[in-house]
């Protein structure tokens, strides 16, 4: 009856309820990828069927058509309060960043704009520690300064699920309810719960599929014959390929992703 997915789920629900109880107003980021779909599912479990805060898609206008179709269908089916604000253009991003990072940095600017517009004190994001080495350093409750920046040199202690949630003025909290999950956990849970995902995760006729889903132009499919969830799970259990191999912005330079994250990227 109880397995490791049950304990991962229980921990995420605990985190979501802590955040909702202590930080207001708050929103959840919905990238439309597999992780954020699991996160919305967990929120529906935590709050017994209704997500009690808005769900924000920071839209660069560069999502795949399948992704937009998915968003519009499930925003309705899941009765989400969807915010779909457009991100600022490429010209507004830091010109010293490499090109692919600049495309990604549009999301950071979009997030900052949304935080200012809706006065959010908390933003829930579906990052995982196993995705990327700088994300592995994250806290569950991670304060960001008034510029949205992450002070990784001086992160607050977190002991036994005690998260400090009182915020000084101008600071917002990033809340990470999936930090302790792995990519394989996510797929096993999607299978168990039958959570819908964008079909781009499954192999097409050319045996290409997306393992990590982002914008057109900076995300690329991997070679894989996995056509259903079982095949994806079997593939992941033995693969040595990193999950974000298809994400161009991670590979611009040694610290490209760290620079993005310190500046407030998800």
């Amino acid at each position: 009856m109880h397995d490791d997915l049950d304990s991962l789920e229980a921990q995420s629900i605990y985190i979501l309820r802590e955040a909702y109880s202590r930080i207001k107003p708050m929103a959840m980021l919905w990238s439309l990828g597999k992780d954020s779909n699991v996160m919305i599912w967990l929120a529906k479990k935590a709050f017994l069927g209704k997500v009690p805060f808005p769900v924000a898609h920071l839209d660069t206008g560069l999502e795949f058509p399948e992704t937009y179709a998915f968003r519009d269908r499930y925003a309705t089916e899941w009765a989400l309060e969807l915010i779909k604000d457009a991100c600022p253009p490429l010209e507004a991003t830091d010109p010293t960043l490499p090109h692919n990072s600049r495309v990604a940095a549009r999301k950071t600017l979009g997030l900052k704009a949304a935080i200012a517009k809706y006065q959010w004190k908390g933003v829930i994001a579906g990052i995982r520690r196993d995705e990327q080495a700088t994300r592995a350093k994250e806290r569950v409750f991670s304060p960001r300064d008034d510029a949205g920046a992450w002070d990784f040199r001086d992160q607050p202690p977190e002991l036994w699920d005690h998260f400090a949630a009182d915020l000084p003025d101008g600071v917002h909290m990033r809340v990470h309810p999936l930090l302790h999950w792995t990519e394989l956990d996510i797929w096993r849970y999607i299978k168990r719960e039958a959570i819908p995902v964008v079909p781009l995760y499954f192999a097409n006729a050319e045996n290409k599929r997306f393992r990590s889903l982002g914008e057109i132009g900076i995300t690329f499919p991997i070679s894989s014959p996995a056509r259903n969830i079982d095949e994806i799970i079997a593939e992941l259990a033995v693969t040595r390929e990193p999950e974000r191999a298809g994400r161009a912005m991670d590979h611009d330079s040694e610290d490209a992703f760290e620079r993005l994250r310190v500046a407030g990227y998800m």
Binding site: H2, D3, D4, D6, S7, E9, A10, Q11, I13, Y14, R17, E18, Y20, S21, W41, K44, K45, A46, F47, L48, G49, E77, W78, R129, D130, A133, T134, A136, K137, R139, P143, F152, R153, Q155, P156, P157, E158, L159, W160, H162, A164, D166, L167, P168, V171, T182, L184, R188, E193, A194, A234, L236, A237, V238, R240, E241, P242, E254, D255, E258
Partner: protein, 637 residues
């Protein structure tokens, strides 16, 4: 009996099956530069858990910096860490042995980053303590080991690293192993293995090394695979800190995580500190739109639950659910062991917030019992505790809170101290002074005022609310009583009108009778205040001389509150129809119509009832808590 042939599994199949199941969390701790990050890199490599291209990437990073190949670059993900060669913050990484999946928590060894080390270690079931073979135990090794024990980690393997650098010398290893074992046993940890190894060379990590043929014990991975997962306290008494309450239509749903024990529909549940009891009606769940819900019959330790109750008892965040039979300790004075993480030292008299489960209380440091030298394990008296220090401290909280002792129920016997927005200490509760039993009916002299203050968390006092009939005195008093009560305050309302039905029914409305009426009201209020209650008196008390008399009777714990509303407003409200009767002459001597009302000139607080009721209630509550809520400090009691 015929032998059953074992199914033959490919390496991939074997690996795939191992990816299921909970990852066993282990933390790697030890002094800076003793080789933790290198060891993690080697563990990943030797268990074939590195992603494709990672090794090549690390080689490129090392070459670019003109350095020898550095395993630690694998974990030191931050630019500053790679540049300075130290781990700043804790990180996590997954690997799989032939036995099970692990998540390894790499904790920084640098003294500066102890808060990051404890953050990492608090999540682990077991630990690897890394010790440099040449240097032996160092200050941070001792501190980390001590903190492991305090954090509740009982399974420890010691990696005596860099054995190659001392020429694989067996005698030297035995000397180091002996001193490490002595220290660990001294703090209550029996190490499960002490392994001589070289993280850089891979000796005794995954396989036994020929360089240390004198060593007969397990490899490091063998030692890890021998650890047992920490069991959730399912068979212990129920503890369920309430996180929140959701109201869906008529349904009130209580949510929280079960820290120990079990819960099912039909169970009786008690909520500390107020002691309200109810029966669990339903366990709530959601499993997707239009899907039949598998009936949730029982939840247990580790589960995040939602449930409804059979009656509408008052429950809020911070309450601690238990069975009525196996209650937590209700106390306001604790001896705790804590580790201090803030730059600003901890001093006697400091005020902080203590958090255990979801309950938070104002706490004050009554005394620093002793400071612990982790080097020598000597305890000494101390005036203050510096950052990264370990100490035994007596804390006093108000109002009392429901807790357990750490040794009985660790998950509700530990907590944190918070100052401003920051967690500044972790603590475990060693002993608690329970509250005076409320079942004892004592004559006054057997309980002192100070004892009452300690028990209630506040002083008693008289909040005398004056104003015209219909101004809203009783309404405000009742709502304020409710709010104060919900915060655990001892509170009562004395309503002038109500007392005229009993105690004062022999009195009329002449000036003399009104004076006597208020004298008795003040005397009763005083008695109740002396016995610890916050007494909200709702009485028109029209003349200043009446109110001065009441102040004289009660003494310094008297506050005069003017509930201000003009006569036109009161007459328009006329809740009891009295103004109408006064206008028609049915009632004589009616304040504001046929008798004078003197508005207070020097009220302690004025409540403007033109504003919404909540505003007056909040203002009054905050005022009362600011005056009577403060626990006077008597360190010598």
């Amino acid at each position: 009996m015929s032998a059953v042939p074992l199914p033959i599994q490919s390496a991939d199949q074997q690996r795939a099956s191992l990816q299921q199941g909970r990852a066993f969390p282990i933390v790697i701790v030890g002094h800076v530069d003793h080789g933790k990050s290198t060891l993690v890199g080697r563990l990943l490599h030797d268990t074939d858990s590195l992603p494709t291209g990672k090794l090549e990437q690390l080689k490129a990073v090392s070459e670019k910096r003109g350095l020898e190949f550095e395993w630690s670059f694998l974990l030191d993900a931050l630019q500053v860490e790679r540049d300075q060669g130290i781990t700043v913050d804790t990180t996590q990484i997954w690997f799989t042995t032939q036995q099970r999946r692990y998540v390894i928590i790499d904790a920084p060894g640098h003294k500066e980053f102890l808060k990051n080390m404890v953050t990492g270690a608090a999540q682990a079931d077991a630990a690897i303590l890394v010790v440099d073979a040449a240097q032996g135990l160092a200050e941070q090794t001792r501190r980390h080991a001590y903190l492991l024990h305090l954090l509740g980690i009982r399974q420890v393997a010691v990696a005596v690293n860099k054995i190659d650098l001392i020429g694989n010398d067996a005698a030297r290893f035995r000397a180091v192993a002996e001193s490490v074992r002595n220290y660990l046993v001294g703090i209550g940890i029996e190490p499960q293995a002490i392994v001589p190894l070289s993280a850089r060379e891979g000796d005794n990590i995954a396989s036994r090394s020929v360089n240390t043929s004198w060593y007969q014990g397990p490899t490091l991975i063998g030692a890890l695979d021998a650890f047992t997962p920490r069991a959730l306290p399912v068979e212990q008494p129920l503890r369920l800190p309430v996180q929140d309450l959701y109201r869906y239509g008529d349904k009130r749903i209580v949510v929280g995580r079960i820290e120990s024990g079990r819960l099912k529909a039909g169970d009786r549940i008690r909520f500390a500190p107020l002691g309200r009891e109810a029966t669990v009606a339903t366990l709530e769940n959601w499993s997707g739109p239009d899907r039949p819900l598998p009936a949730l019959t029982e939840a247990r330790a580790g589960d995040s639950v939602a449930f409804t109750l059979d009656e509408d008892v008052f429950v809020e965040r911070g309450a601690l659910g238990s069975s009525p039979e196996h209650r937590p300790i209700d106390a306001n004075r604790f001896t705790v062991r804590l580790f201090w993480l803030d730059k600003q030292p901890l001093r006697k008299g400091d005020r902080l917030t203590m958090k255990v489960g979801t309950a938070e209380r104002e706490a004050q440091v009554e005394s620093i019992v002793e400071s612990l030298d982790v080097e020598t394990l000597d305890a000494a008296t101390a005036q203050q505790i510096e950052r990264n220090g370990v100490a035994r401290v007596v804390l006093r909280v108000r109002p009392p809170m429901a807790i357990d002792l750490y040794e009985t129920l660790p998950r509700t016997g530990r907590g944190v101290l918070i100052r401003g927005p920051q967690i500044v200490a972790g603590l475990v509760i060693e002993s608690a002074a329970t509250r005076v039993s409320t079942d004892i009916t004592a004559v006054d002299s057997s309980v002192t005022v100070q004892e009452r203050i300690e028990m209630n968390g506040h002083r008693g006092g008289v909040i005398w609310m004056t104003g015209l009939s219909g101004a809203g005195k009783s309404t405000i008093a009742m709502a304020t009583q409710r709010l104060l009560f919900s915060r655990g305050r001892h509170v009562a309302v004395l309503d002038g009108d109500n007392l005229r039905h009993g105690l004062n029914r022999d009195l009329g409305f002449t000036d003399t009778d009104r004076l006597e009426n208020l004298r008795r009201l003040a005397e009763v209020a005083k008695l109740m205040a002396v016995n610890g209650s916050l007494v909200l008196v709702s009485a028109i008390s029209p003349l200043q001389k009446y109110r001065d008399m009441a102040r004289e009777i009660v003494g310094e714990d008297f506050r005069e509150i003017y509930v201000s509303a003009d006569i036109a407003l009161c007459e328009a409200r006329d809740p009891k129809g009295l103004y109408r009767k006064a206008r028609t002459g049915e009632i004589k001597n009616f304040t504001g119509i046929s008798a004078p009302y003197e508005a207070p000139q020097n009220a302690d607080l004025v409540l403007d009832t033109a504003k919404p009721l909540e505003f007056a209630v909040t203002t009054l509550t905050e005022y009362i808590e600011s005056i009577f809520g403060e626990l006077p400090w008597h360190p010598d009691i």
